[in-house]
């Protein structure tokens, strides 16, 4: 078919035009990636610079030999590892309800998540202090009911940071799962039910397998969000539960040891890339199995 408003176009000219269009459209993304790679390259260079124009692995050796700093990386990894499935358990039902309802319920849930999502992390952190703090709603209620005689330690420790990360990350889990679930035909569930499957069987054998791409996407997002968390551990950990990103910031900005901060950043980046690679492989395997 001829393009409108133009004369006959040779196939090669059309291909060239399409190529030019594609190049123009991908240009912004390429620029963004270039900035990202330039920033990463700067960090790599800083991590290898040992001062006086010399290069070496001193910062990496320090990172690998000091249990304190390796401990921060391990802590971030560990927290992300157990917070992700908890976020999934909380987020999946919400996504399911959103996908299977219409009208006010879906609207209310979406609104609730979107408002939460676009509220500043700092404001959300202070809101959580008002709920979980020594003087917060939970402790005041428990004290008033006589259930406890002193406030529960819900903040300034691992528990407080984990609770905050799970609550804050829920939208990252819900939206990818919802995006997949709303495209899963409800008729499939009805068909499985009519063939004698109970609700549990329908969920495990029909709904869940079909929603796995969304679960995987959500899990990756949440895992990376938790792994690199900065504001929640910084404000709600009370200094007793700093995570890797907090230490990197302190080393770069306060201690002014950019080389070591860069080495720690690279450590965190390697863990991140490894997790993305493994989950992609797992995702590909799941898709293959689904294809079979």
């Amino acid at each position: 078919m001829e393009p409108r408003g133009a004369g006959p176009v040779a196939p090669t000219a059309g291909r060239a035009r399409r190529g030019r269009d594609a190049a123009l459209l991908t240009l912004p993304a390429v620029l963004v990636l270039l900035v990202f790679f330039a920033a990463t390259a700067t960090i790599v260079v800083a991590s290898l610079s040992v001062g006086g124009g010399r290069w070496g692995l001193r910062h990496y050796l320090r990172l690998c030999s000091d249990p304190l700093y390796l401990g921060y990386l391990w802590r971030s990894f560990r927290v992300a590892l157990y917070c992700t499935p908890i976020t999934l358990l909380l987020g999946y039902p919400v996504a399911y309800v959103m996908a299977r309802t219409t009208g006010p319920v879906r609207m209310a849930l979406t609104l609730l998540l979107v408002v939460q999502f676009f509220t500043s992390y700092v404001i959300r952190a202070y809101a959580l202090i008002l709920v979980l703090g020594n003087n917060g709603i939970i402790n005041r209620t428990l004290l008033a009911l006589g259930a406890v005689d002193r406030p529960l330690k819900l903040l300034y420790n691992e528990l407080g940071v984990a609770i905050s990360l799970v609550l804050i990350a829920v939208p990252f889990m819900v939206f990818p799962i919802y995006g997949v679930l709303k495209n899963v035909e409800p008729n499939l569930e009805a068909a499985a039910t009519s063939l004698g499957a109970d609700r549990r069987r329908v969920f495990w054998h029909v709904v869940l397998p079909l929603s796995l791409p969304g679960v995987l996407a959500g899990a990756i997002l949440v895992f990376l969000f938790d792994l690199t968390a900065y504001i929640m551990p910084g404000l709600l950990g009370g200094g007793y539960f700093d995570m890797a990103a907090n230490v990197i910031y302190d080393q770069a900005m306060e201690v002014r040891d950019r080389g070591f901060a860069s080495a720690m950043s690279m450590g965190l980046l390697v863990v991140t890339l490894l997790m993305v690679y493994l989950s992609n492989r797992w995702g590909a395997r799941v898709s293959e199995r689904a294809g079979e």
């Binding site: 035009r17 030019r20 123009l24 304190l68 008002l130 200094g239 230490v247 900005m253």
Partner: protein, 343 residues
């Protein structure tokens, strides 16, 4: 519409919009612009209040850029080193010295700033001249603390179990130095400081990294005492009938001179120096400290009446050796995380 033509038109429009935004209309005001980087909150408010006087005296248009902290400000200056966007920068002494060493600020030509003559010598350094000194002390809530806090040692009182918060990073380990001093050490013998701070652990609720955090946590009732308080930030919360108290213990006393530094490589150097001179003039000094509860750097200016009620005679001021602190800070920070900030 033909697709390539549409794309080209879209691109042209984008380029036009970007160019229009970047080039913009020429500024109506012919006064040269001087950009001052300082903290937000009370500090920015104080500068905003004094801005008309500074602009009039220095014949400049003063604009502000906010920094989260002095160290963050220095990092920004270092990132902009090739093309600086800031003329003047307020910080703390240790960070200003770092700025001079890293070459982002220039040695201050004090001879070109007439009002520097009115500033005591110990407040003038090549990295900058102090524009005021701010008091450090203990900030607490009298409705949550069962006794009146008077000395640094009071922080160790068992009645304050779980009620104290403090900071290592704020003022570059100054709390640790204070602990060393009251335990017979100093920044040269910091083991005494660590020993003393470790004994404080039963009283410690949490640690804060910025003064803003400390205030928010106190307001939310999460702690009753901020063991390292910065007066200008809490000044507006103090007064008769207020539950917020600020104590400047008699010994050792810590005064933080706030230096203003001249950033290297900016086009309006002479105007920037005139701005420093205007900031150091008695009238502007009094206006600034009135809003911050600080002590003016110019000895002919008077401190605000309100602080006289809770600031004792400043006879026990300790001068920290910031060169030594800068050299050992990394080692202290790591040790603090290992020995103090753990449960």
């Amino acid at each position: 519409m033909n697709r390539p033509r549409g794309l080209a038109a879209l691109l042209a429009l984008t380029v036009l919009l970007v160019a229009a935004t970047l080039l913009g209309p020429a500024p109506v005001d012919a006064q040269p612009e001087i950009v001052l980087m300082t903290w937000g909150g009370a500090f920015r408010d104080a500068f905003e209040a004094a801005k008309p006087d500074i602009e009039k005296a220095a014949r400049v248009r003063l604009t502000f850029v906010t920094q989260a902290g002095a160290a963050a400000g220095l990092s920004r200056l270092e990132a902009q080193k090739a093309s600086p966007q800031v003329d003047l920068w307020t910080s703390i002494v240790s960070t200003a010295q770092d700025g001079l060493k890293s070459g982002v600020v220039e040695e201050l030509p004090v001879a070109q700033i007439p009002n520097v003559k009115q500033v005591p010598d110990y407040l003038v350094s090549p990295a900058g001249v102090a524009i005021w000194t701010s008091l450090r002390g203990i900030f607490y809530r009298s409705d949550k603390v069962p006794f009146e806090i008077k000395t640094w040692e009071d922080l160790w009182d068992p009645r304050l179990k779980g009620l104290v918060s403090t900071s290592f990073l704020l003022d570059k380990g100054n709390f640790l130095i204070m602990a060393a001093l009251i335990n017979g050490g100093s920044e040269r013998d910091i083991d005494k400081g660590f020993e003393k701070v470790k004994a404080l652990r039963p009283n410690l609720a949490f640690f804060y990294k910025t003064d803003a955090e400390s205030i928010k946590f106190l307001q939310a009732g999460e702690a009753a005492v901020a063991g390292w308080g910065i007066l200008p930030n809490v000044y507006k919360l103090l007064g008769p009938g207020s539950n917020y108290k600020f104590v400047v213990p008699a010994r050792p006393q810590f005064l933080a001179p706030i230096p203003i530094s001249l950033v290297k490589g900016r086009p309006h150097r002479a105007e920037a120096l005139r701005t420093i001179d205007a900031i150091l003039s008695p009238a502007v000094q009094e206006k600034l400290v009135e809003n911050l509860g600080s002590v003016p750097a110019n000895r002919t200016a008077s401190p605000p009446e309100k602080i006289r009620s809770f600031v004792p005679p400043l006879t026990g001021v300790y001068n920290v050796d910031w060169d030594l602190v800068n050299a050992r800070f990394s080692e202290w920070e790591s040790r603090w995380n290992r020995e103090v900030q753990v449960r």
